[in-house]
């Protein structure tokens, strides 16, 4: 078994009840949620005219990504990135499918190019002038585990710091019977190679040839608890608890039908 290791440098977050990483830590530490939240994130890094046209999932992803780079004090241009949404932009899917079900199939060109799954990666790299590798992935309920694996293997193989951003928005009415999520959630972390000069906690990951269930998670804030069950990317929450508490015990999460990902924070 090969242990994959990296350093954890900084975080960003935006979701219902929290508009930054400190807010989310407060919730996870039982200190209550932010009750004066704006309706939508307003990522200042996206120029105003572009921001107006940016869909909610893009704004979620870019806001938490920007926070993480600010917290790390790293220029976004230096970061490769992996963006993950388990559900995609179902509001844009809804728009396109409604238009295409009609007689006049004229789509908005802006909405069409915003409908690509890598719209968030696109807006991010354009807004920050980042020319590094930008990945955009999906793995449904295992989106968190696979994105950690993709980010850490990239960090090790290429020897570069990597921004990982997990984001999913509420699902459109038609698809809600299948993809139940009602809660916006975004979280970003920046990782760096173990042998780099950056300072941070160490994250070790092992791929185990055994299955496991998602761990029980409770935060005493029902919005977050529901998100954990319904929003694919909120499954990152137990890992954040480990990080906040510097919990050195192993945390094992599902990776695939026959494997799991064992995580150790130290």
């Amino acid at each position: 078994m090969t242990t994959l290791a990296c350093k954890l440098l900084a975080y960003g977050a935006w979701g219902k009840g929290f508009e930054n990483w400190q807010d989310l830590q407060n919730i996870l530490q039982g200190k209550g949620h932010n009750e004066s939240m704006p309706v939508s994130p307003k990522p200042e890094i996206i120029p105003a005219n572009e921001r107006r046209r940016a869909p909610l999932p893009v704004k979620l992803a870019v806001e938490s990504s920007w926070q993480a780079t600010q917290n790390a004090g790293i220029d976004p241009k230096e970061l490769s990135c992996v963006f993950v949404s388990g559900l995609g932009d179902t509001q844009l899917t809804d728009y396109m499918c409604k238009v295409l079900a009609g007689e006049d199939k004229q789509l908005s060109p802006t909405k069409f190019h915003n409908s690509v799954h890598n719209a968030a990666a696109g807006y991010w790299t354009i807004s920050t002038s980042c020319m590094k590798s930008a990945n955009s992935v999906a793995a449904y309920n295992e989106s968190v585990s696979l994105t950690l694996l993709e980010g850490i293997t990239q960090c090790i193989a290429e020897g570069v710091p990597v921004l990982l951003t997990f984001f999913d928005a509420p699902v459109s009415a038609v698809l809600k019977s299948l993809l139940k999520n009602e809660t916006p959630f975004a979280f970003s972390m920046i990782i760096a190679p173990s042998d780099s000069t950056y300072e941070g906690l160490t994250l070790e990951a092992n791929v185990l040839q055994e299955t496991t269930a998602w761990p029980v998670f409770s935060s005493h804030y029902d919005v977050l608890d529901n998100a954990y069950n319904e929003n694919p990317v909120a499954k990152v929450l137990p890992i954040l608890k480990h990080i906040i508490n510097k919990d050195k015990s192993a945390l094992t999460i599902p990776l695939s039908a026959a494997t799991s990902l064992q995580l150790l924070v130290s």
């Binding site: 490769s80 949404s85 499918c97 199939k105 069409f112 020319m131 989106s143 990239q154 993809l179 040839q209």
Partner: protein, 392 residues
């Protein structure tokens, strides 16, 4: 890096399998036809794969999954995956799929047939189909792979990037083999989406031609099995030598005017392969037949490579297969290492007068040791791959 391709297959309008594709390339038979997709009256040409409509997948039904299944039935790709599962266990086999449409074709269809409350009818309540991970969920189900399974959706670079991710997983030793694939299908979203951007041609596409006026959309499924060199029991004779991944940081749907991101990936892929540009015998260009892409990519290639490097775009055979283009064209490039048959750039009559590189409408026979394939997608997402012959 020493990653071997131990098997590969391709399904597109140019041929249902690799053998049919080779024949179509050799005989310069295009698979493009006038648009005949149901419910679309758009005047254009498309690369539709015959027979997809006949694949019945029950609860997994979508055109995209049907094409994915058709592709897996070609050659010995599925049998080889089963052999590897027997050798290593299903959990040590990884799966990385690239797609841009996933199964949006099925969601489009569901929306034409909603119930009286405007909600999904029972036959469309397919949780594992109406989501961006659908191609991998289906292929894992169809092949029995239970190791790490990821979908890459970076538009038209998706199934080029699967090679990079698979190579990293193999190098990290978290799997013993990876099935990489790409699958995208013709649907209204892409036909009318690209039309809204005024990028679709009403005629067969003519990449790099002075009089090109847009793209043709196509569909394809492609697969390759990747293994570390020391584990590869069977050989095709092809290895992956390098990859490059970058962002344009310019615009969601227009390429960088100077092609900076595209230049970066070609340089990165060459660096990783430890090659000088002059060593590359053949480049399968992204060559969509759009005004902007072909001028920018062609200018870069004119500047970076010598006249000894043969170049072509093969989109005249099957159209732009979007998220499946990376692997479809990567495998066409890789296959020239074995066949020596360098496909021409179909429908090229007069090269864009601003460009100056070695491109020809005619097929050429050459001794190809190193071949490159370029893929550039929306969001300014770029990937370049370099394949080489395995040293005997």
């Amino acid at each position: 890096m020493d990653i071997r391709l131990t098997n590969y297959q391709s399904t597109s309008a140019a041929g249902v399998d690799l053998a049919a594709l080779r024949l179509a390339l050799q005989q310069q038979n295009s698979g493009l036809r006038k648009n005949d997709i149901a419910r679309s009256s758009l005047t254009t040409w498309i690369g539709r794969v015959a027979g997809v409509e006949d694949v019945d997948l029950g609860a997994w039904q979508s055109r995209n999954n049907a094409l994915a299944a058709l592709g897996l039935e070609q050659g010995t790709i599925k049998a080889d995956v089963h052999g590897l599962i027997g050798k290593y266990s299903a959990g040590r086999i990884g799966l990385v799929m690239g797609s841009s449409t996933s199964s949006i074709d099925r969601t489009e269809l569901a929306y034409t047939d909603l119930n009286d409350d405007g909600l999904l009818k029972p036959e469309y309540k397919q949780e594992l189909v109406h989501n961006p991970h659908a191609p991998s969920l289906f292929v894992a189900h169809y092949t029995g792979i239970t190791g790490p399974t990821l979908t890459i959706n970076t538009a038209c670079s998706s199934s080029a990037k699967v090679f990079a991710t698979a190579a990293r997983w193999l190098e990290a030793n978290i799997v013993d083999a990876v099935l990489v694939g790409g699958v995208d299908t013709l649907c209204l979203s892409v036909l009318h989406g690209f039309d809204s951007l005024q990028l679709v041609s009403t005629e067969p596409c003519k990449p790099f031609d002075e009089h090109r006026d847009g793209i043709n959309l196509g569909e394809a499924a492609g697969y390759a099995i990747l293994q570390r060199a020391q584990d590869a029991d069977v050989q095709t004779g092809v290895c992956l030598l390098g990859y490059g991944e970058s962002s344009d940081a310019h615009h969601m749907s227009h390429p960088h005017p100077d092609g900076l991101g595209a230049k970066l990936v070609m340089e990165q892929a060459l660096d990783m392969a430890k090659l000088e540009p002059a060593a590359v015998n053949y480049i399968n260009l992204h060559g969509t037949s759009s005004q902007a892409n072909d001028y920018i990519e062609g200018s870069l290639v004119s500047n970076l490579f010598s006249k000894d490097t043969l170049c072509s775009s093969t989109k005249g055979w099957m159209g732009h297969t979007l998220g499946a283009a990376g692997i479809t064209e990567g495998l066409i490039a890789a296959d020239t290492l074995l066949t020596g048959l360098v496909p021409g750039s179909m429908n090229l009559t007069t090269l864009d007068k601003r460009l100056d590189f070695n491109i020809s409408a005619e097929n050429r026979q050459a001794d190809v040791h190193y071949a490159m394939s370029n893929s550039f997608g929306f969001g300014g997402n770029n990937c370049s791959l370099v394949f080489g012959k395995v040293d005997e």
